[in-house]
Structure formats: structure tokens, C-alpha cells
Symmetry: C2
Subunit: 336 residues, 2 copies
DNA sequence: CTGAAAGCGCTTACAG
DNA sequence: CTGAAAGCGCTTACAG
């Protein structure tokens, strides 16, 4: 409970306990047992430390040990449940493993991404997880130049191990769900439309493949005009749809909850035929099941992905072939 | 681009540049101009540093300077837009001011909160912002014992300056909005019900006051049974409503988007009379405007709150009287 | 059972 | 214009 401008150090404690700084240090970091320091001294030191509100200067301690315990993560945004959950679970899991997690949000900006990575490395991060990074290879290169391990999450890279969702299978499953619902509820057989994302984005491209292939298996051809991958934002999704005024049944594969916002906005403003629309979304949001027309959503398995990522930490990279993690498909009740 | 187990240090650079470590250090941290080091040497050093992929060991640098640049923030959850936005904006604003932001998510667990605070202080955080903390005073006490500044955000404390939303006014405005809509759309005049949160929670209590007082001004008395502040979770909100089967018009003041989930679930399962229900929510979610029956939401002004908080950093505390920041009320189109 | 000493990588008054 | 030296707070072989 000392009040002062300077924080208490082991030297202060040593003086108060009438012991050497070495002994104090050893008591405080738990090595006193094997240094065979007397229980009596140990207890005295611990009591004094407690009374002084002492807390170790980790900066100094880790500098000496040449460690940092920091595992860094960069994440694009907290504006959907997916990344929010990733950040949250990452923190908990890292802490449970004795690391000090530092998560940085990089606003989907490649420059910020790289700056954040450099800063984390300056702070001696021991491992860096790049989540949904636009340019993961640039970060991996910088990391490896600094002797720091890097791992890609959500979006794969070539120069470091990657853990990503099995986008292809999940997209296929979702497409089949939408098709089934269109058939049973509307008596309509497709083809569906694909809304949101960018085709240059790996995940979008993979999902599109699943989308196409599910329909191909039913002998449904998808015209190019049905692919509306115009970007990541509610406005862009809404824009893509502005010229689309359905005159009968229609089905949409919505890529990400961000696009979903735009789709729902468009849907709610249709003056007629809204009940002839069905859609499903790749990504999860708790309000999803209450949105009219929404038949189901894909929830990515964040815990499993992170578990796989943590398994890679500290291990030498064997292969950069992405680890694929299955997603969960959540189907909603029929819109009768 | 050196590859090796050891990171490059200023000593390595000094050897390569044939200069002293002091000179290298000074070149690299920008003080070389005032130390009048020759431009020639400076440029040589910088070129070599670049070539070696050198990045300063901030741990060592800040230890020497007796600083850390770290500003810590603890936040309960990323499971709604409010806290997600707080974390995101905090990071950007901190970075813009030259700090190294570290955000920790504490799962609404008082113990985790305190542990996280201690850890942040061990890492020499210079200031700690406690957002929505269950026991902010405990954290303030620990901080002040370590000579670290602390600031409360979202939820006030007694032992450190607080920046919070003007819950009373916003709740009153929201209540008035719901009442107005009930009157014009349903021809019904209340009283409304209050759903979600805990009365022991400061914000809930304050919002409840605004809720009551708006109705009092219209001479509407609110029976105790209309106050259903049974906790923070979708299930609890849904549970509270399970026995409530309206046989006519009804209006709900929903406290937080977490409770909103429960309310919307309940609402969507009503077999009849759903169109006679109106509700508004204290907190913002982008899907809010698409939820049937939702007349409007309160959006807390995250930027302003954080601006006020940053103004306090580094300044000696003058008063612990909470700073109140106005909220924005977002009204949705009539559900005619 | 315990302490003196060296050193983690940096910075900065001080003395040329 | 530049370097040697001390020191930030800790840890840990080493020598009693």
C-alpha cells in the first residue's frame, strides 16, 4: 500500500527483509525451493512483498530471461461475431497457456496490418497470428527475418502454416440447404445468386466453388450475372441488389454477415414478393434466425481453429499446407 | 534479412558500421541530430539496420527509459457492438497518440478482471482503463497502490475518474419514443415493461429511473411486476417473458442487445398478437432496424466517451464525479 | 543455506 | 563530432 512515485523493487524489499536482492528475487519467482532458501526467509519476504503491494517488473524480468511471453494476434475488425469471438477465445486460450496475449485490430488496412506486426515484434512477441490478413506473406517474411514464428488464421498464406475453415464443404452444404428450402417452400429449383465478398479473396473464391459445385450436382447452371461479389460492406451488397427486382422466387447465398446487413435492408424494402425470397448466410450472427427469409447460417468453428493454431506454436513448421477445420451449419425453422 | 536464432542488437550493428553502440542507439532513436553525429555515419547505420531487418528491443529500451507506453484496457466481452467498438476505437486512438494499447477481455468475471489488471500492471502499463468493470474500485485501489493511473469507462467508480453515458436522459428519450409509437400505432398508452439487466448494476438502475420518470411525466404509474431486470443473457430475458402472454397491446424497454436477443426470440414465437407489441432497445445493433416491432435503439457515443477518457490520461485527477456523455437515439420507421 | 557479480539490450549524462 | 560508463530491474550460474 506504499504510495509514491517510484514502484517498489526487489532492492527495496531486500532492504526491508534484511536479505539480498538475489534471495528476494528467487523467493518471488518460485525458485527459492531449489536454491534451498530457508522457509523462514521466504515467508518473511513474501509477507513484505504483499504488504508493499509489490508486483514484479515483467519488462525487466523477461528482458533478463530473453523472453516476452507475448503472443500477438492481428485481426481485421470487431464488427462481426466471428472476429470478436476469435479475439476473445484467443485471449482466454493464450492466458490458459501462460502467454500474454496482445490483440490488435487493423481495420482491414494492409499498411496498418504490417505496422501492427512490426510493433508487436518490437515488443518481442514470440509468435504472431495473422487473422484474415490481406497480405499474410509480407508479415510472415518480416517475422521470419526477425526469427519470430508466424501463423495464419482464417485466410491462408504461402510462407507460414495456416489454419482455415473448410469453406468449400460448408459453402456446398449451405447451398444445398438453400436449394432444399427453395424447393420445398417455394417449389422453385434455382439457380441461386451469390452476394458479397471479392473473388480475389481466397475464402470468397473457395466458397463460390462450393456454391457452383452443389448446383452442378443438381444439374443447375449458374449464369455469371448471378455472381454479385462486389465487396465487403453492407452498402456494396445493397448496391449490387438494387437493380434486382425479382418477379418470382429467388434464392441468395450471402457471403458474410456484413453483406447480410445489406441483403436484409434490400429485402425489407421490397414492395412485393419478399415472401418468395430465401437466403442463407456464410457466417453467424445471433439475430440471424429472426430475419425473415433466412434459412440458415454457417458458423465457423472458432475453438477448433484456435486449438489447431495453438498446437503449432513453438513447433517447427512441417508444412504450409493449410489445415482445414469443418464448419457448423445451423438451419433455421421453415418460413412456412 | 539475417536468419538466425538471435535477434540483431545495436552491438551487432555497431560492429558492422564500425561505430560505437552509443552512436548506433542514438542514430536509431532519432537523437543523433542533437548529439551532432555526422550525417554520413547516421546514414550508414540506418542502411545497415535496414539491411539486417533490425527492430529495436522495446522491452530493453523502455526499461531503460523507465516507461512502457502501454495503456491497458479491460473490457467484459466482444459479444455486442458496443464493447467491440470501444475496443477498436480505443486501439486506434491510443496508437494515434503514441501508446501501445493492450486490450483484455475479462468475460464479465470479477476475478479475471482483477487478474487482468494485475497482469497489465506487471507489464508496466502506465494507465489502465476499466470498461464496464464489476468492481472498479478494487482495480483503482490496486492501481493507485502501484502508482498507476486508472480510469473507469461505461460504469462509474468512486476511486478514480469515470466517463459514462448519460443513461438517464437516453433512457427517458427511448421511453418517450416507445410510448409515442404505442400511442400512434396501437392507440395504447402504457405502462411499459422493463426487460433485462440487474437493478444492482448502476447503468440499469439509472436507466430504470429514466424509464419511470418519462412515464411519470405522462402520469403513467409503473407496477413493480413490469420491472423484469432478471440479468444479462438472452435466456434470462426470454425466461422473464415466458409467463407474459399479452392479450392486447404492450410495450417493452429492452436493456442491452443481449436481452434483445431473448425478447426477439420470445416475440417471434408468440402465436398471436405479435403485431400489438412494440419495443425499443438501449444499445445498438445493425440488425435492429429489421426486427419487427422494434421502434428504435440507443447508440452510445463511443468516440466521445473515449475522447474524454484520453483527455484524462496523464492529468492529475481533479474530481471523481462521473463525466456524462450524451447518447444518440435512433428511431426506426413506423411498423404501420 | 546465501550473496556478489555479470549481464539481458538499451539510453544518456558526462567527458572529451 | 564521438565513445566509455553507469544503470533501468531483474535472474542465475558461481562460489562460498
Amino acid at each position: 500500500m506504499e504510495k509514491g512515485t517510484k514502484r517498489t523493487t526487489i532492492y527495496d524489499l531486500a532492504k526491508l527483509a534484511d536479505a539480498s536482492p538475489s534471495a528476494v528475487s528467487s523467493v518471488l519467482n518460485g525458485t527459492w525451493k531449489k536454491r534451498r532458501i530457508s522457509k523462514k526467509l521466504a515467508e518473511r519476504v513474501m509477507a513484505i512483498a504483499e504488504a508493499q503491494g509489490y508486483s514484479v517488473n515483467v519488462q525487466a524480468s523477461l528482458l533478463r530471461r530473453e523472453r516476452s511471453n507475448i503472443v500477438g494476434m492481428i485481426v481485421p475488425k470487431y464488427d462481426n461475431r466471428y472476429f470478436g469471438e476469435i479475439a476473445e477465445q484467443f485471449e482466454m486460450m493464450a492466458r490458459a497457456r501462460g502467454y500474454f496475449p496482445v490483440v490488435t485490430c487493423t481495420q482491414r488496412d494492409p499498411e496498418l496490418e504490417f505496422e501492427a506486426a512490426k510493433e508487436l515484434i518490437s515488443y518481442q512477441a514470440e509468435c504472431l497470428i495473422s487473422t484474415g490478413a490481406t497480405d499474410p506473406d509480407r508479415i510472415s517474411a518480416f517475422c521470419s527475418a526477425s526469427g519470430v514464428q508466424s501463423i495464419n488464421l482464417d485466410l491462408p498464406g504461402n510462407d507460414a502454416p495456416s489454419v482455415i475453415s473448410d469453406n468449400y464443404t460448408a459453402a456446398k452444404d449451405l447451398t444445398n440447404l438453400i436449394l432444399d428450402r427453395c424447393e420445398t417452400e417455394l417449389g422453385w429449383r434455382g439457380p441461386l445468386r451469390f452476394v458479397g465478398g471479392r473473388l480475389t479473396d481466397h475464402n470468397t473464391a473457395t466458397r463460390l466453388k462450393g456454391f457452383i459445385s452443389a448446383q452442378k450436382e443438381r444439374s443447375i447452371g449458374v449464369p455469371d450475372t448471378h455472381i454479385m461479389a462486389t465487396g465487403y460492406s453492407a452498402q456494396k451488397a445493397a448496391q449490387a441488389l438494387v437493380s434486382f427486382r425479382p418477379d418470382g422466387p429467388a434464392g441468395l447465398f450471402v457471403n458474410s454477415t456484413i453483406s447480410l446487413e445489406g441483403v436484409v435492408g434490400w429485402h425489407s424494402k421490397l414492395e412485393s414478393g419478399a415472401d418468395q425470397i430465401r437466403y442463407g448466410c456464410f457466417d453467424w450472427d445471433p439475430f440471424g434466425s429472426f430475419l425473415p427469409g433466412n434459412v440458415g447460417m454457417v458458423e465457423q468453428d472458432v475453438s477448433s481453429m484456435l486449438n489447431r493454431a495453438f498446437e503449432l506454436i513453438g513447433k517447427p513448421a512441417t508444412s504450409n499446407e493449410p489445415v482445414l477445420v469443418p464448419c457448423k451449419l445451423r438451419a433455421f425453422h421453415p418460413n412456412s
